[in-house]
Amino acid sequence: MQVQLKKGVMDMLVLALLTQNDRYGYEIVSKISEYIELSEGTIYPLFNRLKKEKYVETYLLESQTGPSRKYYKITPNGTVAYNQMRQEWDGFSGVVDMLLKGVD
């Protein structure tokens, strides 16, 4: 899949995963790369940006098995942004699907 196409939805996917529960970086990254083929290392800067935009917050949590992990938590701002992105996405993808089905 084209890189540009992936990037557009990446923010939404990260926020979507965080609406379920707080997660640490590796968890989000590996979850996304399970479905979408891309270099895992390139997802991390999105967290920085989401944090800068105050869509997510971070906190450290000790892990029983290893060093402490940085957890990401969606903020109310982030939820609002996510809902908007989701709405736009649903609308857009619905239209695209409809068009494509008409062609097929």
Partner: protein, 184 residues
């Protein structure tokens, strides 16, 4: 490549780009490795899934977290050159009107100094020549056990005296000339 090499390469790339908080970025990947180990992965597998350091750097630039200093270097240099040229022009505009004044002042100072020096040399000649003549006229013996200087013929003495006299006069005359020039 192992974890350390990977992180070092990453560190170097970010540092080259003058990124301020490189370690906070590196920390994120440290954690990624740590969790990867817990999942039973080794360095090679983790690095393969992470992507290349260059790719990671680019992703930070594209996410707007850092600005691409490396990429912009070319343009930055041009901008700098333009700024320097402009500054040069500013200096020129500032200095050129002052230049005649500065030159006049410099030549005035130079002439004054030269005139004073010539005066001093002239006066010194007047003082030193008689002293030399006096020393040469007697059989001067500075130290008791050293042979005295040989007596000098009257012609040589007259020559030295003339040299001193006219040299001194010339110098003093030249000094006054210079002084006049710089007063003009």
């Amino acid at each position: 490549m192992n974890k350390q090499e990977f992180l070092n390469t990453l560190r170097i790339i970010f540092k080259k780009a003058n990124v301020l908080d490189v370690e906070s970025i590196i920390d994120v990947y440290e954690e990624h490795f740590a969790v990867g180990y817990e999942k039973g992965l080794d360095d090679e597998q983790i690095i393969k899934s992470l992507g290349t350091p260059k790719e990671i750097y680019t992703s930070y630039v594209e996410a707007g977290i850092i600005t691409d200093e490396i990429g912009q270097e070319g343009t930055k240099r041009t901008v700098n050159m333009q700024a320097i040229y402009k500054r040069l022009e500013d200096y020129k505009a500032l200095l050129l009107p002052q230049l005649p004044g500065v030159a006049k002042k410099a030549s005035h100072t130079l002439l004054t100094v030269a005139s004073a020096l010539t005066y001093i040399v002239g006066v010194l000649l007047f003082i030193v020549t008689p002293a030399i003549l006096f020393l040469l006229s007697g059989s001067w013996q500075p130290l008791a056990n050293v042979t005295p200087l040989p007596a000098v013929s009257i012609v040589t003495m007259a020559g030295i005296a003339g040299l001193g006299l006219f040299g001194g006069l010339t110098c003093i005359y030249a000094g006054s000339e210079l002084n006049n020039v710089c007063k003009r």
